[in-house]
């Protein structure tokens, strides 16, 4: 193990720390939102446990993705993009996770809503 090896390894480890923290302390968030970005347009939709729906998103040139929401988890159920990687990604269910369909310029992302609060006492 050479001197710089240590430096490189240490740097990478440091960079990966947010991931380790994120996984160890999975943050419970308040009501979740779903942000759907297609091209230049953006939609914010609420996610509620027990509420399921699907929505077809078109990219204006014949491409489409079918977004399926089941409570607080989301997936692309079907699409007509050439690689279908968005469909392969499967379900996402935590804030920060994304599903991307590049051919259709689509990004689906779960956001935590209640401004970093876990709950509100009322």
């Amino acid at each position: 193990m050479k001197r710089l090896d240590l430096v490189v390894a240490a740097l990478l480890f440091a960079l990966s720390f947010p991931l380790i923290l994120r996984e160890m302390g999975d943050p419970p968030r308040g009501a979740l939102r779903l942000s759907v970005i297609q091209g230049d347009s953006r939609l914010d939709l609420p996610l509620r446990e027990g509420v399921s729906w699907t929505r077809r998103i078109e990219d204006g040139t014949g491409g489409y993705n079918v977004l399926e929401v089941d409570g607080t988890r989301v997936r692309i159920r079907e699409a007509n993009c050439p690689d279908l990687l968005c469909v392969d990604t499967g379900w996402i269910d935590r804030p920060g996770q994304t599903i991307v369909c590049l051919p259709h310029r689509l990004v689906v992302r779960i956001e935590g809503a209640e401004g970093g609060l876990d709950g509100v006492s009322r």
Partner: protein, 173 residues
Amino acid sequence: MAYPGSPKARELVTSSLLSVAALAVNQLEGLFPYPLPGIKLGLANAFALSAFSLFGIRAAAAVNLTRVLLSGLLFVGFGLAFLCSLFGVLAALATLCLLGRLYPRSISARGIAQAQAMAFNAAQLAVVSTAVSSTEVFLHYLPVMALASLVTGLATGTASELICSLARRSGLG
């Protein structure tokens, strides 16, 4: 068995072999599931690293770029995955330029491989993030890339050392 012919010829032949091997591994890698489209693990970089170790940076550049171009020509086309690989490889080569001089005295093949892997992955991530105009995607997956680079770099570095010793023993390097 010593390979007859000039060192230049040797470099050419071995580099070609390495490129093809890299291409094959590249395609196999593609079967891997990954959270984002177009992004590869970068295990194929091992071969370029070997080329660097045996012949120098020019050979490394040749091997990597040939692999990317051939991959685009023969297999995946010139879409996003191609751009990812291209910029990834360019970033990896840039890293190699910077750190290559310190090899093998201050840094081992593994260290270089890890740094290369990080550059490779970060560049791929940057391409995808730009394509969807989302810095959050970049930030969210960057730590994942760092961790992955630690591991794949280790594998790649070790692999390249093995490839080098194999090449030298069989007279190709």
